[in-house]
Symmetry: C2
Subunit: 265 residues, 2 copies
């Protein structure tokens, strides 16, 4: 059933996912928070923090092991990411946004049971305390957002049995966008260090302006798109299929969504 | 104006402050969360985490300096307490309570601007990034609580200028109780390692059953009560004077409030 007028009647919501150095270095964080504070309308920020987690782990003599770009999370590493994602990065962002009159609320998936996940089953790899998202409480989030609260979401979820689980921030952004699509006209923006999805990772001029499932399939087969970009794009298409209006992949300095690669069906 | 019937008409709220080893050792934490889940009616948990902060700081080669029982908080130590209080301890409690069907929401003072503080002025001692509470948004907290949410409050506040500030958990409990007194019939319970306020710290049988301002004054003068108990009791009397119905100091294994020292005006 396609009733586009409904989308026009919904209020706009922008979900911005930022990761990497951007949220972990004081100057770029400050710039990001300033830019984010100027995004008009309802908004949500989803953050990562992997570099800080690796740094803290290293300082504590804990080795960081990555498989397919995902962190192996044993009990010690779970403590590290809980401290860094749920504490250090999340609360610095929240305090920074409050100083810019953004009424931020830091959330992990455990808070108010917002994101329930299941510990990833062991197949070829035992990722440890890593969660695959089961449900996001979009209804609850939508109520908070409509009251003017700006959720700041850390990449941690819980299994309902008392365990926190390390969860990919792109996945959280995508699943959160999907859960909010019934309530808002949602734009999802993935920010990272490049202008958008590049055909040649070393050439910023090779950005693909519009990416459809057909182009994605082709770029995947010929190897133009690989690595961490694949789950990011899979999340993007899943979000669009679930009713998200628009997905953009762009630079963290372009969170107005006016540039970058537009993902569309 | 004394209209006691009002208090009888208000719904009951129990605010429990726990600190020390209780929240930092898996077995005692589990027991505490079980006990807390069985407290009937509306409730709030306020926690500390100092031992874990000292341990993490030590593991990172950061020295913990205490003056008058308060932690000197430089920039590195602020990161440590943000990680431990806002992340590790808070989120473990939240995930644990969710598994017991308590709809916990972890909060620092920065989240939704719940507790605004001011950096403690430098007099004899420069405590660094330590906050003295200015305002607690009792109205907002009361709305959350009436929706069935259980705030779990970390001992961190913010100054509205982007800085998190380390803040004494007893103070947060006392100020939060005061801010909620207009909305609820509030019982404030401070839990620690002793049965109550003891005349002789080494003799559990020396507990003072009822402590009034007169007895406090006397015990203070003769040295029976000293150290960290003094601000705890000052917080207690301030809370009672601001409309909190009942304050109890007791063991963490007695959070039902049926034993311990009752503080009364």
């Amino acid at each position: 059933m396609d009733i586009p007028i409904w989308n026009n009647m919904k209020e706009k919501l922008t979900i911005i996912k930022v990761g990497g150095k951007i949220v972990e270095e004081p100057d770029s964080l400050k710039q990001l928070l300033n830019d984010f504070s100027q995004v008009t309308g309802h908004k949500v920020l989803v953050h990562g923090g992997g570099r800080s987690a690796t740094k803290l782990a290293s300082d504590l003599g804990i080795e960081s092991k990555m498989v397919n770009g995902r962190r192996i999370t044993d009990a010690d590493m779970l403590n590290v990411v809980t401290m860094v994602y749920g504490g250090l990065v999340n609360k610095k962002i929240v305090a920074g946004l409050q100083s810019l009159n953004v009424n931020a609320l830091g959330l992990t998936g455990a808070d108010m049971n917002v994101i329930r996940s299941v510990k990833r089953p062991v197949k070829d790899v035992d990722y440890g305390f890593v969660g695959d998202v089961e449900t996001v409480d979009g209804k609850l989030l939508s109520k908070l957002i409509k009251k003017g609260i700006v959720p700041v979401m850390a990449p941690l979820t819980h299994d309902g049995k008392g365990n926190l689980l390390n969860t990919n921030a792109d996945t959280i952004a995508g699943e959160t966008a999907q859960s909010l699509a019934p309530y808002f006209d949602v734009t999802l923006i993935f920010c990272f260090e490049k202008k958008g999805v590049l055909k040649d990772a070393d050439d910023e001029n090779s950005m693909i302006p519009i990416l459809t499932p057909e182009i994605f399939q082709q770029c995947r087969e010929d190897g133009t798109i690989s690595g961490g970009m694949i789950p990011k794009l899979e999340n993007s298409f899943a979000a669009l299929n679930a009713g998200v209006s628009k997905v953009i992949i762009t630079l963290a300095t372009a969170i107005d969504g006016e540039s970058g690669t537009v993902i569309q069906l």
